[in-house]
């Protein structure tokens, strides 16, 4: 925990700002910002592991968080017995056949000697595998999706406690990351960037269109929450008496309490992760990672297997992103594949890491708080700014309306400018690497 007085001051300042939001705007808003900041901080930690420790450029954060979110549905939702009876086995068998096809193709590739015959054999394996898989999978999928489509139409989950979904989300994301990393690491550094960009779009496409999995764009709502909902808190006697002594409405008190519950859980996870990350960074392993980042060639000369180490850290960092994604979905209580946008889930996290200070875990956390705060507050500020600009114009003029309507896009502009300015004038960030 090597924080200087200046770093602590920055965190304290952030706390004061949040408290001011609570006092002048509303405590609900302050808690919402706090919770999303904590989740973003975990995402930023994951990205910082990849970029700050190892110099890996991952632009598929959105995909890894979405996979984590999927884990919440698969773990916590109750299973749908009718759907399982209708086509559960067929879907499982189909998935296994798909995997078997790919494995068979790989086996053919490895066993046979290069040549036209091998290419032909691989092609044949893939075509036959595709046809068989489709024959088993297609009807099962349709049968599942036909089961009570208005509210179900999917297989459901395992019906386990929702907290379990968090580590499972991390494992899911790690699995996807392993596949991507295996393919694209060890080549040019920006190939990883393009590969991750692709996989994140595909993950979202799968979530949107495979309705048997998580209802696709129909969304899964009402997922179990790890913390009591405000509605359940309101009738409690102690909540009502607390509200009275604070002089707040009961509804407000309940939602603040519920939010604080989440904040407590998130803080525990974040503290644990930071502790682990700091330990790792200052261990021989962490020094090795930084040595690889700073000079790959000499690290290689020292006998370090750079590609393998990169794969390790890429999987680890993505797992942390998946964990954050699972936490976010369990906070919202719903999985909405349509809401995953790369600008919000991938590039904003990058701004957090760069602004906070890449290579420093505390920096990533602070960056997440600062940027999320700005992200939430820039929109009203932008509207205010636009109202100021347009105050001289006649009411109802087309230009005025257009300017007011486009205030929302000011935040993209602001984030981009913040990123560019930091990169140029303070590339080491708010809390630099030591």
């Amino acid at each position: 925990m090597n924080l200087t007085a200046r770093d602590l001051g920055l965190f304290a300042l952030m706390g004061v700002v949040l408290a001011m939001v609570g006092m002048f705007q509303s405590w609900q808003l302050a808690i919402t910002i706090l919770n999303m900041s904590l989740i973003s901080a975990i995402m930023a930690l994951g990205v910082n592991m990849q970029w700050g420790y190892a110099g890996l450029f991952n632009v598929g954060i959105m995909g890894f968080t979405a996979v984590g979110g999927l884990a919440v549905v698969l773990v916590a939702q109750p299973p749908v017995p009718e759907a399982w009876a209708a086509g559960g086995l067929g879907i499982l068998l189909g998935l296994m056949l798909g995997v078997a096809t790919i494995l068979a193709a790989v086996a053919v590739y490895k066993r046979m000697s290069p040549g036209k015959l091998r290419a032909l054999a691989i092609f044949a394996v893939l075509v036959i595998g595709y046809l068989v898989t489709g024959y088993v999978f297609g009807p099962a999928k349709n049968a599942v999706q036909a089961v009570n489509p208005a509210s179900e139409g999917y297989l459901g989950g395992a019906g386990l406690p929702v907290i379990l979904a968090w580590p499972v989300g991390a494992v899911f994301a790690a699995g996807v990351a392993w596949l991507v990393g295996k393919v694209s690491l060890g080549l040019r550094s920006d190939y990883l960037a393009i590969a991750t960009l692709g996989i994140s779009e595909i993950v979202i496409a799968v979530l949107k269109h495979e309705r048997w999995l998580a209802r696709g764009v129909n969304n899964v709502t009402g997922i179990d929450r790890p913390v009591a909902r405000p509605v359940d808190l309101q009738p409690q006697a102690w909540v009502q008496s607390l509200a009275e002594s604070l002089g707040w409405g009961v509804g407000q008190t309940a939602s603040v309490l519920s939010g604080l519950g989440y904040a407590g859980l998130f803080l525990i996870v974040l503290a644990l992760l930071i502790w682990l990350a700091e330990r790792a960074l200052n261990s021989p392993w962490g020094r090795m990672m930084r040595a690889i980042r700073d000079n790959e060639i000499s690290a290689r000369a020292m006998g370090k297997n750079v590609t393998r180490r990169h794969l390790n850290i890429f999987v680890l960092g993505s797992a942390v992103c998946g964990l954050a994604g699972a936490m976010m979905v369990s906070m919202d209580g719903q999985l909405t594949p349509g809401s995953y946008e790369p600008l919000r889930f991938t590039f904003l996290v990058w701004v957090m890491v760069i602004v906070g200070g890449s290579g420093n875990n505390w920096g990533a956390v602070l960056g997440a708080f600062v940027i999320w705060f700005l992200w939430v507050q820039v929109e009203p500020a932008g509207r205010w700014f636009m109202e100021l600009v347009t105050s001289g114009m006649a009411d109802g003029s087309g230009l005025k309306q257009h300017l007011l309507a486009s205030a929302a896009y000011m935040r993209l502009l602001t984030m981009g400018v913040a990123l560019l300015l930091m990169l140029r004038f303070a590339p080491r960030g708010l809390i630099p690497e030591r």
Partner: protein
């Protein structure tokens, strides 16, 4: 068995759209490959820059339409192209001056450039949306069809129809002209030769008196022209939505990598491969096979390998195959 109808159907629904889409991708991928070989980084702001240039063209088009200017059978947007180019080239040169030049001076790592281009992407995205919003804007005018399904049926008497939309024909033609001019420029002019020399061996190029800043400026100018052309053609064909342009990033990169980064011919070939693969794999082949199979053996399913929503998966699969088996691409691009 009606092979002629099958051929017409496949041309109408797959070959022509894929050819148009491939031409649009090719122009974009050429820009990526040029920036890659001269400035030596993966330009992530490519899609959004394309959107900004197209937005400028749309602005010009609306202005011209309001003035009553038109070149009737052709879309007015073509007349507004030069205006869009000037705007976008200005924008690119300003960003280069404000952002990238500093990193060139301090010889920053390629990843820092990529990061900076991410920042530029955000800003560009914001500017485009300030002007255009997020919805779809259509700016196609002029004659919609060169020949429509009905014309074709009347002339040939076939059951299956075929249409050629003017935006598609213009796309394919323009792309062809642009490519020819670009290759002439790269191979025959002094500036083009200095660009190739600089991309080939920077030190040697500097030694022989080539001004690197001039090469960089020329690269941005060409990229700007390519982007505006590609973006306008894409917009004429499919309508303008900023997010779609961002999503073009993946197929454009896939095309450039597939062809071999740094190789202009490769970018073009790669773009057509990506386009045809995307269309071919997500196309429902049922109609074609209905014509081809003997009576009574018509297929019952859609004969579609993957749903259209997974066209990114196709691009991605191509990318993975290239990375696994031939990371330098078809035309042995540079591994900088």
């Amino acid at each position: 068995m009606e092979p002629l109808n099958a051929l017409v159907s496949v041309t109408n629904f797959m070959l022509i759209p894929a050819l148009a889409y491939g031409s649009q991708l090719a122009l974009g991928a050429l820009g990526i490959t040029l920036i890659y070989s001269i400035l030596r980084f993966a330009h992530f702001a490519h899609g959004d820059t394309m959107a900004l240039g197209t937005a400028a063209v749309i602005g010009g088009t609306f202005f011209l339409q309001a003035q009553g200017v038109s070149i009737h059978p052709l879309p007015t947007a073509l007349l507004a192209l030069p205006f869009g180019m000037v705007v976008l080239i200005g924008y690119l040169l300003i960003t280069d001056r404000l952002v990238y030049r500093y990193y060139r001076k301090v010889k920053a790592k390629p990843m820092i450039f990529v990061m900076a281009s991410l920042g530029v992407m955000f800003v560009t995205n914001g500017i485009t949306r300030l002007f255009m919003g997020v919805g779809e804007t259509r700016f196609e005018d002029g004659e919609r069809f060169i020949f429509s399904v009905r014309d074709f049926r009347d002339v040939t008497g076939l059951a299956e129809g075929m249409a050629l939309r003017s935006s598609q024909a213009i796309t394919i033609l323009t792309a062809l002209i642009v490519m020819v001019v670009l290759f002439w420029f790269l191979n025959r002019t002094r500036s083009g030769k200095s660009m190739r020399a600089y991309s080939d061996n920077e030190d040697l190029a500097l030694l022989s008196g080539i001004n690197p800043e001039r090469v960089v400026i020329i690269t941005w100018v060409i990229t700007g022209m390519l982007l505006v052309t590609a973006g306008t053609l894409y917009g004429l064909d499919k309508g303008f939505r900023p997010f779609n342009y961002f999503q073009l990033l993946l197929p454009m990169f896939a095309a450039a990598i597939l062809g071999g980064l740094g190789s202009p011919v490769g970018a073009i070939v790669g773009a057509y491969i990506v386009a045809f693969a995307e269309m071919g794999i997500t196309y429902a082949w049922r109609r074609v096979f209905t014509y081809l199979m003997p009576e009574g053996l018509e297929p019952e399913s859609m004969m579609q390998l993957l749903p259209v929503d997974y066209k990114f998966a196709v691009t991605f699969a191509i990318l993975v195959i290239v990375l696994l088996f031939r990371p330098t691409g078809i035309f042995k691009g540079k591994v900088l």
